[in-house]
């Protein structure tokens, strides 16, 4: 039997449930109250479905951790490149898990002494990475937009960072930077966000129509 022509019962049921849930949640946003001012049934249903979704998302994290362990155990078993780091990751996971069981009130220590410094280091690396990428930009894409991008970045950098012996540069800091950041960049970002909102809307409608089905098989 060709699965393309005959979708499984599982796919049909999951699609029907997903579309129905989506429609209920959507309608719940628009019909909040009944005529006599009480909370509508749709709103109640919306809140119930959303709380179920949050519970399921929490359980999904557990499954995600199992998936993470599977990926790294497989890497260790096959002695792939970076297997040592996979071992380190699994050991860290076990130690953190045990620490959480033994001293649940002090889990914050793990984040402030390990996670935060490591992420701050990655952020610092990113500054170097982006500077290098900006230098390579003109080699990769030599056009007017790239030149405008780089000139703007340099202007903002000089206007924001105090320079040795000079301090802030008067015209750049007082006029150019506010104009670029609050007028040009803000207008551009709003335009982009409006476009993203329209894209989000059409993506949601496609899901409600069942055209995109990231659950239980697609087409």
């Amino acid at each position: 039997m060709n699965p393309r022509r005959f979708p499984s019962l599982n796919a049909v049921v999951s699609t029907a449930f997903a579309i129905a849930s989506g429609l209920i949640v959507l309608a719940g946003y628009f019909f909040v109250q009944t005529a006599n001012g009480q909370v509508s049934l749709l709103t109640d249903l919306r809140l119930t479905l959303l709380s179920w979704a949050i519970i399921l998302a929490g359980f999904a994290v557990f499954i995600g951790i199992i998936n993470l362990i599977q990926v790294h155990v497989k890497k260790i078993q096959r002695k792939q490149k970076g297997a040592f780091y996979s071992l380190l990751l699994i050991l860290s996971l076990v130690v953190t898990f045990l620490f959480g069981l033994i001293k649940p009130g002090q889990m914050g220590i793990v984040f402030t002494t390990v996670q935060l410094p490591v992420e701050a280091s990655l952020m610092a690396m990113l500054a170097v990475t982006l500077t290098y990428a900006s230098i390579r930009l003109l080699r990769r894409r030599l056009n007017l937009l790239s030149v405008i991008f780089l000139v703007t970045a340099v202007l903002i950098l000089f206007a924001t960072a105090p320079l040795p012996f000079l301090g802030t540069i008067p015209v750049l800091g007082d006029w150019v930077r506010p104009f670029l950041a609050q007028v040009m960049a803000a207008a551009g970002a709003r335009g982009i966000l409006l476009g993203v909102a329209l894209g989000t809307l059409t993506t949601g409608i496609r899901l409600l129509f069942g055209a995109d089905r990231p659950y239980g098989g697609n087409k």
Partner: protein
């Protein structure tokens, strides 16, 4: 006032839905021709190369949570993942999908398994869809080994990212492989513009489905976005004119 705004919102949703259905039906036999986006043209070429040289495609879905509005970009990425999994079905290996949100990771696994079932791929890799980290930087740190060590020759970064996307594009550059990247976050878009070979700007990532021929509703949704954009521009201009004239 809030009731009117709610009704206006509902009206926009219904109008968009009706337009999408109508356009999908009217254009079912002659799909519309869209402007050329070089990133998608090169993506198709890169997918062809993945199949030919037996390497892998990596799709990164970002760390947008499924219970927030940022999930839309990940869902658009999942739709693209499904289509790309179909396109690479003749290849030796299934694509890898990485994400920073557990529900999105589960959906990516499901999408890849569904693709392997429908395309008769011999066996689906159970760890092809994976969660690499739960914070933005841990997610990026976990996705870098996938880019570097798993014989990946083409990367699609499509979802909700922050500045950490720069680490991913840098890893791709070091491996000398192909990357097309897009995000719904303007800050990430700036980073992507500076560091990726093929950046997707604005809402171009939501048009991905239409450009890889995912179906008539994808093409119709791009046209609907254009129609709504013009309506929005008209509303902004009318609002500005009325404010200037003292009516608002």
């Amino acid at each position: 006032m809030s009731n009117w705004l709610g009704l206006a919102g509902l009206g926009i949703v219904i109008l968009s839905a009706v337009l999408m259905l109508a356009l999908a039906y009217l254009r079912r036999k002659s799909p519309p021709v869209f402007r050329d986006i070089p990133a998608f043209t090169r993506l198709r070429q890169a997918v062809g190369l993945v199949v030919e040289d037996g390497s892998r495609l990596h799709v990164s879905l970002g760390h947008g949570s499924l219970t927030t509005p940022q999930s839309a970009s990940a869902l658009a990425g999942l739709a693209l993942l499904r289509r790309l999994a179909d396109l690479t079905s003749a290849g030796d290996q299934p694509p890898i999908a990485t994400s920073g949100d557990a529900p999105v990771a589960i959906l990516s696994q499901d999408t890849l398994q569904a693709a392997s079932k429908y395309t008769d791929r011999a066996a689906s890799d159970l760890v092809a869809g994976r969660l690499t980290g739960l914070t933005p930087f841990s997610y990026a740190a976990g996705a870098i080994p996938a880019i570097r060590d798993e014989k990946v020759s083409a990367n699609v970064l499509m979802g909700n990212f922050g500045v950490e996307v720069g680490l991913l594009t840098d890893a791709v550059e070091r491996e000398n492989s192909f990357v097309v990247a897009g995000s719904d976050n303007p800050t990430a878009q700036a980073v992507i513009y500076a560091s990726a070979q093929e950046p997707l700007i604005g809402e171009e990532l939501f048009a991905a489905g239409a450009y890889v021929e995912s179906g008539p509703l994808h093409s119709a949704s791009v046209t609907v976005q254009d129609i709504l954009r013009w309506l929005l521009i008209a509303a902004i201009l009318v609002g500005a004119a009325l404010t200037l004239a003292g009516f608002l």
